[in-house]
Amino acid sequence: MYEFDWSSIPGALPFLWEGMKVTLKITLTAIGVGIVWGTLLAMMRLSSHRVLGWLAAGYVNLFRSIPLVMVLLWFFLIVPRFLEHVFGWPPGGDTRLASAMIGFALFESAYYSEIIRAGIQSVPKGQVGAAYALGMTYGQAMRLVVLPQAFRNMVPLLLTQAIILFQDTSLVYVSALADFFGVAYKVGDRDGRIVELLLFAGAVYFVICYAASMLVRYFRRKVNA
């Protein structure tokens, strides 16, 4: 029978916390940029301007048809080289964190934009008509009337997406960036205690995500009430 030995975890906690900070940094950047850029994409898609609509649809469908691992590999391996080439930057700088943040932000925007588009469409048309009748411009109607109601309805879905995103950040493993999971794996590998470290990492993710999903349930009841 396998004998568990948890002794390498207490000493590794400071490293694991550093890793968690990287995980949170990527998650929060991607949520922030994702919601802003996702809102713009959703508005482009719903606008009466054909070309803008196509561009947004193309962007969203492109990112939604490629595996996240593939998108990350593009941003880790190809994009930095391309930029070095174009702008004549010195090669070999460590761009992994920036690559991860940008890659996740652009990828998640596609998913957020679909959620936000559905949210905007759930607002009754009369609301827009009423805003125009009051003399508001398109921007005012969106900002003051449509989006506040849409976002209220979307809170549970946006949060659910954030939980998925938080879990998916572990995939920066493909670039050997030291996020929470990366650190856990490295410590386990170093001490020959991969089993314990993986179980520990899994438990931490589970507790955080389960607590967050309870929060989603609470918001869902509130929105439906």
Partner: protein, 245 residues
């Protein structure tokens, strides 16, 4: 920008010379397809079963299924994959664990990735099946029971055939996710499509061509699956429901 495009690089002999770089890509493509399809079959069967358990009038069974879903939904896919790959052989009885460790590496990786994707996706299928069953009018179940069907028969002949027809659209997106998620298997060294792309970047001096081809292949899978599922959706849609014409 001066970059020498060489699309003919894929026809050059690769590695030890037994095949071309194109051969590598096709081998990866096959692995991705085989892995995803097998995992999807497992996810449909297990997810269907769990979805039924989630809705039966038995606290213990529905609680068990709910716990199952929460477990697989709240742990990252990568952690699950590493657990199947690194932890399972350690926790199995020694004889079994050793048998797993002595398999050839490809089989070992494929097995871990298959179990990981199968279980992960089954939890998501379970939730779709549950919502399909719960969306049925309560009269359907009562009518089945009133006709003298047992509860299993009511599920088998009345509720499940309807529920599965209703959830084809969400299952389509789970099916697509299975293919996309299979790329995670590259992290344990399984030479599927994404891993082959990575290998091509290392071996050839043509990173752009390699990644473009790999990305296009994933998009191709997406288009084929979507077309097939849309056809299926038209065939099985239930008259009288929103979404049917």
């Amino acid at each position: 920008m001066s970059y020498a495009w060489h699309w003919e690089v894929f026809l050059q002999p690769a590695g030890s010379g037994e095949t071309t770089y194109l051969g590598w890509i096709l081998a990866g493509f096959e692995t991705t397809i085989a892995l995803s399809l097998l995992a999807w079959v497992m996810a449909l069967l297990l997810g269907g079963l769990m979805g039924v358990l989630r809705t039966v009038p038995n606290r213990a069974l529905s609680g068990l299924a709910a716990t199952y879903v929460e477990l697989f939904r709240n742990v990252p896919l990568l952690v699950q994959l590493f657990s199947w790959y690194f932890i399972l052989p350690e926790l199995l009885p020694p004889a079994w664990g050793n048998a797993v460790k002595q398999m050839n590496p490809f089989l070992q990786q494929f097995l871990a990735a298959f179990l990981c994707l199968g279980f992960f996706t089954s939890a998501r299928v379970c939730e779709q099946v549950r919502s399909g069953i719960e969306s049925l009018p309560r009269g359907q179940k009562n009518a089945g029971l009133a006709l003298g069907f047992t509860l299993p028969q009511t599920y088998r002949y009345v509720m499940l055939p309807m529920a599965f027809r209703l959830i084809v659209p969400p299952l389509t997106s789970e099916f697509l996710n299975t293919f996309k998620n299979s790329a995670v298997a590259s992290t344990i060294g399984l030479l599927e499509l994404a891993a082959q792309g990575r290998q091509l970047v290392d071996y050839t001096a043509q990173p752009y061509e390699s990644f473009i081809v790999i990305t296009l292949l994933y998009m191709l899978i997406n288009i084929v699956v979507m077309t097939a599922m849309r056809w299926l959706e038209l065939r099985v849609r239930v008259p009288g429901y929103i979404g049917s014409k």
